[in-house]
Amino acid sequence: MTMGIQVERLEKHYGDHKAVNGVDLEVPVGTVLGLLGPNGAGKTTTVRMLATLIPPSGGRARVCGYDVATQPQQVRQLIGLTGQYAAVDQDISGRDNLYLIARLLDLPKKRAWARVDELLERFDLVEAGGKLAREYSGGMRRRLDLAASLIGNPRVIYLDEPTTGLDPRSRNALWDVVRDLVAEGSTVLLTTQYMEEAEALADSVVVMDQGMVIAKGTAAELRARVGGQTLRVKPMRPQDLMAVATTLARARLAGHVDHEAGLVQLPISGPNDLTIAVRAIAGSGLAVSGIDTSIPSLDEVFLTLTQKQRGGVEDTIQFWRIE
């Protein structure tokens, strides 16, 4: 399989601090890699190295076979970058921003304007096109920025937290754009803080923390690491919490009591667990304000992987089934 992006032991040092510390990535042509990590993980630094904006301190990165350190000019002909902070000129209009980039990418004048109109249309900016970019809302500016990075039909596209600050509608529109790009054969590297986004778009996911890769795989594989479905039962009156736990224990279900949240949680392991639990609760006559099941969100996976366990764990009491 040909690789759109290939990164080996990439490093970036700032003084003693290793912002990126030996990262390996492979993104096959025509696929999306989701790069996840908390603040300061080194996502932006990685993207900036791949976009030839800063030189790596060590290791190697290639884009369609061209080395970012030794062949930056070729790499720049292949990439489109939407950085974490919108890189648009605030003092000229949206149209002029796009036209500038089109000209810098050597489109002849007429074709440049045609391309500008096409992109304004695609990103719902036709009306705002003539306005100064400084008058745009945050979301409009991000869309303009994305449009600017797509003018040259880049083979490889970097999107650094592209949906941060977008409303749900714009976010969905952006996701559609990314899917279209991939359908056209582009390779996408997308950084995000949201598992949901990685799950919706990425063929594979890499989780970074403190400059290192701490997990990789598909979103489903990562989720499997944390476990399956959980049933949550919340009694109407808080003092019934232990009674609910006892009822479930008598029904031969094991779980734990979360005092802080005021509910009982149990993993669903067998096909009949759910029915048994509901029947037991119904038989006990205890008033319940909520029963639901939850799939561990990828955010939980993410928190688990980055060793930042949520609080409240100490506050739970395990109970075992009564044989």
Partner: protein, 291 residues
Amino acid sequence: MSTATSAPSPAGPQGPGSSPRLRPVTVPPPLPPLSPRVGLRATARHSFAIARRNLLQVRNDPGQLLDSTLMPMIFTLIFLYVFGGAIWGGREGDYKQFLLPGIMVQTIMFASRATGFTLSMDFGSGVMDRFRALPIARSAVLSGRIIADVCRLLLGQVVMLTFALVIGFSVKTGVLQAIAAVGVVLLYGTALAWVSAFIGLMVKSPNTVQAVGFLWMIPLQFGSSMLVPTETMTPWLRAFAEANPTTLVTDACRNLLIGGPVAGPLAGSLAWCLGLMLIAVPLSIRQYRRR
């Protein structure tokens, strides 16, 4: 683009609990060979595209032009009517004729500072990242800046010369000489714009760039024949003033407009301007590459 049928992509879920998806992978056409450098003609095109952007910024905020149009006019009036009598004493001729070419030079000196300031602003905003990730020569951003600034400087000169004529300045030579006069001043402005670019690239904050750009020019402006004749200066200052490029450029401009020896100051001006650029251009480019 060709679509290779159902080569399985690495499995990824569509949503919670879905099975791995299979989707056709579109194989983009093979890459054409990519060139490792940007040609000169392309760089020229890119420079003009960036110059256009810089001029659009001015069009969208014409207030930027006040310091190279309105300010020198006010200066002219102050010097003419407040200091004029004292400066000129009982000399022959008209201070107005002496002063206005000097104001043209002062105008360009003030206006040239914007080059460094705007470059510094660009570096502070995200646009520079965009430019640097594009397959263009890095020097295009710098030359685009200079091209736009030369246009701005020229506009300032035309406005000032018109203003001068309106308040009663008279050109004693001819049209060609007047054009040459503007040309010399413009060349000086261009050289100073490169120095300003260097300052803008050396110093981090735009405000400091403004201050430094102002300070280094004070001796050049006031230790010169721009506003006052040099004869009354103390000998050491006079020696400084006579070697000062501002004096040479002012004298060349003045004599081209109202008559007088031209060859000497003109040769001196050209030498200074070329010399300044010979140093400031490569230094600026080097500094730009580093940032």
